[in-house]
Symmetry: C2
Subunit: 373 residues, 2 copies
């Protein structure tokens, strides 16, 4: 295995011990809350990480693309929730993934789409399972629990020969904009209450609704209880990032993923290093503004992962250039740093593998990840 001075930069690093601690913490939360953990693999997109995150769990996972569903199905993951609204033309691909041995559960929130889905599944053999998506306050997708279309969709699916209503789900993405733990708790309760209410309406009308699914890292960490919920689907908790740190989901030392980078230029007049982690290597996710209301693109740390003094951030980027101003001493061209990411889902998506490191920063493994759609 190469060491951190041998890897070609930029490179994605994953700290094995931090990952394990984050996973253990969320597993304990699920146990405390009395729900199953169906980790969302949209952040990690890695078989090795999914194996760790489902250990001692029921084994189900959530994915955000059919490419992920295919990748995990081929690795033997047999219970996959595809957490982005299905379109009828994607059903043939879902069928092909199910033929690999996985049960793929889809989500939908649209009456016309439900009708078309049924028509398509009639033309495909096999069994297709769905959750109805509920809007618990994010107002992105999903129906309000009291919307009559929830029950209409449930009935359409229930009477279709090849379809199965498996339950309801919601995602409280608005937990990301909370400015206090108390506010996250309120969102978590709204998330729980909305999806449980929808399940009760469906059951009250004589239909079954086995799965009651919620999920976001902040609400999973801070919910007071999840009565009536059967599973939760957090994802970013495995790695965490500067944004999660900014909203109180983790400590800075919990961040398990960083980008290894090399200094490629130095300007004395601006005490500024240029590093080879730019807009592609870090992603352009702006995360949260800093105390001055300015945005930045990741925090600079030394090669061991310890943040440099003075909260130094990548302030500007071009495709393969990251601007790191404000240093208190000159850096040498070739010197290596790590950048802690704003939003690890976006950053990790730019790479096809993790270089796995142990607590000493020794590279101990290389884990592939999937990309694309």
């Amino acid at each position: 295995m190469p060491n951190l001075n041998d890897l070609r930069t930029p490179a994605l690093l994953l700290d094995r011990d931090k990952l394990q601690r984050n996973i253990d913490h969320m597993a304990a939360r699920a146990k405390t809350l009395g729900v199953e953990l169906r980790p969302h693999m949209k952040t990690a997109k890695s078989i090795e990480v999914a194996k760790l995150a489902t250990k001692d769990q029921a084994g189900g996972i959530t994915v955000s693309t059919l490419a992920e569903a295919d990748y995990f199905a081929r690795a033997g993951f047999a219970d996959i929730l595809y957490g982005v609204g299905i379109t009828p033309d994607k059903l043939a691909d879902v069928r092909a993934i199910q033929d690999l041995g996985a049960r793929v559960t889809m989500i939908l929130d649209n009456l016309d789409c439900a009708g078309e889905v049924v028509a398509r599944t009639n033309a495909l053999s096999g069994r297709f399972g769905f959750l109805i998506e509920i809007d618990s306050g994010q107002h992105r997708t999903g129906l309000l629990p009291t919307d009559e279309r929830v029950l209409e969709i449930a009935r359409i699916l229930n009477k279709a020969e090849n379809c199965e209503l498996r339950g309801v789900m919601t995602h409280a993405g608005h937990s990301y904009s909370c400015d206090s733990i108390a506010a996250v708790r309120e969102v978590a309760e709204a998330e729980r209450a909305a999806v449980v209410a929808a399940a009760e309406i469906i059951r009250g009308n004589g239909l079954s609704c086995d799965i009651v699914s919620v999920g976001s890292t902040p609400t999973a960490l801070h919910a007071e209880h999840l009565d009536g919920v059967t599973e939760m689907r957090p994802g970013v908790f495995m790695f965490s990032d500067l944004f999660q740190h900014s909203i109180g989901s983790c400590e800075l030392e919990d961040l398990a993923v960083s980008v290894l980078t090399s200094v490629i230029a130095w300007r004395d007049d601006e005490a500024r290093a240029m590093v080879d982690a730019g807009a592609l290597a870090l992603s352009q996710d702006r995360g949260a503004p800093d105390v001055n209301g300015e945005y930045a693109y990741g925090m600079a740390a030394d090669i061991a992962g310890h943040p440099l003094p003075g909260d130094l951030r990548i302030r500007q980027m071009n495709q393969e250039h990251g601007f790191l101003p404000g240093l208190d001493h000159a850096l040498k061209v070739g010197e290596r740093l790590r950048i802690l990411p704003n939003h690890v889902c976006s950053t990790a998506a730019q790479y096809d593998r993790y270089h796995v490191i142990d607590e000493n920063g020794t590279v101990v493994d290389s884990w592939t990840r999937t990309t694309g759609w």
Copy 2:
């Protein structure tokens, strides 16, 4: 070949005819200006596109990563400029790429680095060529032409056994922030003058300086003359994008790349479609603000590529969700649109292939592209 209704979305489309027109236009510009065209492949990252862009040219290309250098060298491209500052530890990889049959020219702007580069190349057999990077006003990287270090680096390289000073280069990235064609012309002249001045200083001291290289799409399109320059390295011109359109580099109908997407949800109350092209499929590059000073993430077009009436933009994104509000009629779940990208370098980087279409929107080919580092 699948048609546009069969491709799994999101998918990257490349219009073959628009690409060819953009390439022909830049080839004519290079001829008019009397310089060689060394197209920058950081945007396209595709062998097929590189073949078209170097047809009737000297054959040299520019790349932004060693992964690109390796990919193009394996395809037979024999003259490659790696346009990001070299670090000494990357020289062994450059050597390996040269062993594939390519001549790789590197850039540097740092005196200490030049010394270390020479030490490393002494330990590696082979011949290593360099351009000195000049700052022509962007103030990102590079030395001012009159900086004494230009000549010091030139002398260090010149006397090293395995190294060769091949010339000077600059990138007028500040042309991207010009608000008029007249301003771009001024930047183009500053770009030309800086790098020619550096070349003259080097030659005036008895050293050779064969390559005098400039490059950015706006300055390549609008420079009044390039006297003293030997080559230019524009890249984004091949595809163009909303940002280039906003600064007058192209017409909207010149945009050769778009993202095919499906509607995954519809909200009546906000006349808003949700599409399956989100932060990963489009990238989070904000491009230029609109007339109201707001940012958006791509312009919606119909499946044939014609912009929808009313300048509709993706206004918000999550990882796999793009928010498209303000529609004048309801869209069906499953309906297909195209999104014209803000910054095509960032958007295309998320995909491993182009679905190539002809003027009728028929998919006629699939071209791979390289990703990563």
